[in-house]
């Protein structure tokens, strides 16, 4: 098995690692970089628990070969809070009880961030479709959707 030396940026930090050519970016993040926030729920792109942003775009990191990450800018759930404050989505999820077991939460937060970055004022339907690739089995999605709505309101308030 060939291994490739990959240099990229993860959560703002320049990193490099050696990855088997057939391994996923998810495995590299978890195994090589110790960033276990992104989870493997299916390995086939159907559950979204491994969601990360690559160059600002939402991806399932289980569907990306690790060497593809060369030169890219990756954001995982570990990187969305700043030094002093949780991201408004994280805060809204805590206050809104939008997580139960928490296994889907990292992926949902990333997908919701991708949505709000592109569309600061989504409708409920837009939120539901934007999160359709993120399965949650605990919550029935209700409190997740409400918390994304709440975070959107707070982000707009902060931007004003």
């Amino acid at each position: 098995m060939s291994r490739t030396h990959v240099t990229c940026t993860v959560n703002g930090d320049p990193v490099d690692f050696l990855a088997s050519d057939d391994t996923s970016l998810l495995n590299a993040l978890r195994g090589e970089l110790g960033l276990t926030g992104a989870k493997e729920g299916c390995g086939t792109g159907d559950c979204g628990a491994c969601s990360v942003l690559i160059d600002g775009r939402l991806n399932c990191s289980c569907l990306v070969f690790a060497p593809e990450a060369e030169g890219s800018d990756i954001v995982t759930v570990e990187g969305i809070a700043d030094d002093d404050h949780l991201h408004p989505l994280q805060q809204a999820f805590l206050e809104g009880a939008a997580l139960q077991c928490g296994i889907c939460t990292p992926g949902v937060l990333i997908a919701a961030k991708a949505l709000l970055d592109a569309n600061p004022d989504p409708t409920e339907t837009e939120i539901r479709y934007a999160l359709a690739g993120n399965l949650c089995r605990c919550t029935g999605y209700d409190k997740i959707i409400r918390s994304v709505q709440e975070a959107a309101v707070r982000l707009k308030g902060a931007a004003r």
Binding site: S24, L58, C60, L63, E70, A132, G133, N134
Partner: protein, 290 residues
């Protein structure tokens, strides 16, 4: 297995020539699940996304050129493209989640040769052409001639799709794509139907109907298109008997299978429903310019 990311078409050609059995990929959204499910890994994985031509969308001289590896979300977010091909755009917007659409490509969706690929009926309805790197040059063929059966294509070893070309639609033309899935997202189509039609006032003058997921490949249904040509449009609605003929023709054209996703009877019945509903949307777009 080795990963390679060529930056030119010629470099990719060489890699494939040197390593028989290797695979090109763009989004890998089908490839990775297939490898996980036990499909033998190719000797070299050739990533096409570092080749500029395959990632570029150009609109000039009444024609679009779409890099075969371009993420479908680049196209669904492209307002000019979506205004011209709303049906093709909505078909691409149905390929999996947002996560998937940031990776999936028209080239991959076509070359994977799933009978249920959402973009393919819509590409065929719009007479999209595939430009294929072949030997030292290229050849151009209609999209309909690529897939030959489930997982099977007419692409020879070493060939790969470079880009797609499609002419701007004539005026007063609209397209639409609808599919039936059990959920609202994240499913493979049980039935897909693409319709493109052109109107002259209150008369349909041209129509193409293409079905997906009801046969080993996407199927164009000439009888269904013919049923619409000459049909009258009254207050935005196509004549009911023409629509009934369209639906019957669509159902009759199905050659489906029973599988975990749907039955033969269901696919046949719903193919007519989807075709009729897609035609109803398409006619509105043709008359109203979207």
């Amino acid at each position: 297995m080795r990963y390679a990311a060529p930056t030119t078409v010629d470099e990719a050609r060489s890699l494939l020539a040197e390593h028989p059995g290797s695979r090109v990929f763009a989004g890998a959204t089908d490839l990775i699940p297939q490898i996980r499910a036990g499909r033998p890994a190719p000797p070299v994985l050739v990533d096409l996304k570092r080749i500029d031509q395959l990632m570029t969308v150009v609109h000039e001289d009444g024609q679009w050129r779409i890099g075969a590896a371009t993420p479908t979300s680049n196209l669904t977010r492209n307002r000019d493209f979506t205004a011209m091909f709303p049906g093709l755009s909505e078909a691409m917007g149905l390929i999996g989640s947002d996560q998937i659409q940031n990776r999936s490509s028209l080239g991959g969706n076509l070359a994977n040769a799933s009978p249920a690929a959402d973009s393919v009926p819509a590409m065929i309805a719009n007479a999209v052409q595939a430009v294929i790197a072949s030997g030292d040059g290229t050849r151009t063929v209609p999209v309909a001639e690529i897939a030959t059966g489930p997982g099977q294509t007419s692409l020879a070893d070493g060939e790969f799709i470079v880009e797609f070309t499609v002419a701007d639609p004539p005026s007063n033309t609209g397209d639409a794509y609808l599919r039936m899935i059990p959920r609202t997202e994240m499913d493979i189509a049980i039935v897909g139907a693409a319709v493109r039609l052109t109107v002259d006032g209150d008369i349909v003058t041209d129509a193409t109907v293409v079905l997906g997921a009801v046969a080993p490949t996407a199927v164009t249904v000439p009888e269904a298109g013919a049923a619409l040509v000459g049909a009258a449009i009254d207050a935005g609605s196509i004549d009911g008997s023409a629509m009934d003929t369209l639906a019957d023709a669509a159902s009759a054209a199905c050659d489906p299978i029973d599988d975990k996703r749907g039955t033969v009877a269901y696919r046949r019945q719903v193919a007519g429903v989807m075709a009729r509903r897609a035609a109803a949307i398409a006619v509105g777009r043709a008359q109203n310019g979207v």
